[in-house]
Subunit: 207 residues, 2 copies
């Protein structure tokens, strides 16, 4: 005999989340049943609120409940620097490092012709428009940092953007490739080693 429909419904919904199979979804559902009703209600409310109140910032395309988002509207940030990232998750990683104080531009993915994802599916044209508009307004962008990841799709997205950005009077930078901190040379893969060699730099401090 199956368990009540309400429980299977919850298990089925939970099992759709990434990393949760039917077993862990069942374990979660039974946990939720054991906890006070308030906790389940808070989670339910948070789920609805996140979908109803969160949208994309029209400027940087990060998730926000305002438009423009508080980051784009913040006068204390360096408005002449744009960091281009694949996703809001990547933005969070850079933001929580505390190492960057400029603005962002979320692409919303990477080029992936095999999965039918072309330039028009990304916020790529919008990046060019944004640069042009700043230029026209006399507030030109100083640097565009292409902070895409290390996957082959990310690399070809980077090439595509480099190509499109060629004629803009702006410095285009990219994240360094090389040995991750703590990695022994002995264990490094050939491609990383190749990039660490290509990106090598003068080791002595200039006199």
């Amino acid at each position: 005999m199956r368990h009540p429909k309400q429980i299977s419904d919850l298990v089925n919904c939970l099992a759709k989340l990434p990393g949760l199979g039917p077993k862990s979804a069942t374990r979660l559902a039974l946990y939720i049943l054991k906890r006070p009703a308030d906790e389940a209600r808070s989670l339910a409310k948070a789920l609805v609120a996140v979908k109803e109140e969160i949208h994309f910032c029209s400027l940087c395309h990060d998730y926000t409940d305002q438009d423009p988002c508080p980051r784009c509207a913040d006068p204390k940030r360096d408005r002449a620097q744009i960091c281009v990232v694949e996703s809001p998750a990547d933005l969070m990683v850079i933001e929580s490092s505390g190492l960057y104080r400029g603005l962002y531009h979320v692409l919303g993915g990477v080029l992936n012709p095999l999965n039918g994802i072309g330039p028009e599916d990304l916020n790529a044209q919008d990046l060019l428009d944004r640069l042009q508009k700043a230029l026209d307004a006399g507030e030109p962008i100083r640097e565009v940092l292409l902070a895409t990841g290390g996957s082959p799709e990310a690399e070809s997205t980077l090439s595509y953007l480099l190509d499109r950005l060629r004629d803009f009077p702006v410095q285009i930078t990219r994240l360094a490739r090389g040995l991750p901190v703590g990695m022994d040379l002995e264990y490094v893969d050939g491609n990383t080693l190749k990039q660490a060699l290509e990106f090598r730099r003068e080791a002595r401090e200039p006199l």
Copy 2:
């Protein structure tokens, strides 16, 4: 700068679930943001429904949306056999094995004096009342199977129940302890081996 409050609220609620830390909760929240609003709404509805419509069966104390639960009300099940389990999760395990067709009694935990869980916190007295009532009604129970787990707390719960059930005219059984299927003797721990020896039985078929 933090992400919008709606997202942190969702992350905080998700991070309360067992097995989810802040990182995986953030990953889940961003996944939910990417998916259609319908999915989040279904999950929210399922969460509320499970807490509003599911309660304990007054007979077996399993989760149910009816009372008595469909299993307790099922005339096709063996009503003279009661399997005593720690939790609804354990009940599901036995039920989905398809090896048992009697009724159940969910204890709702195990004795744990260190955490302040005594007999009055379990559905133990209720088991005795249930047996007595069946006896008085002339529908005596034939067998009570104590299907508690292998933890020390479960063992002392079993001892406690054995003691309380001593005077009932009913067969009391417990799950066998021994080698799990597929386990080599070489890797077995001392306590399991001790129990496998204690539970050993005649290997030849009777003539």
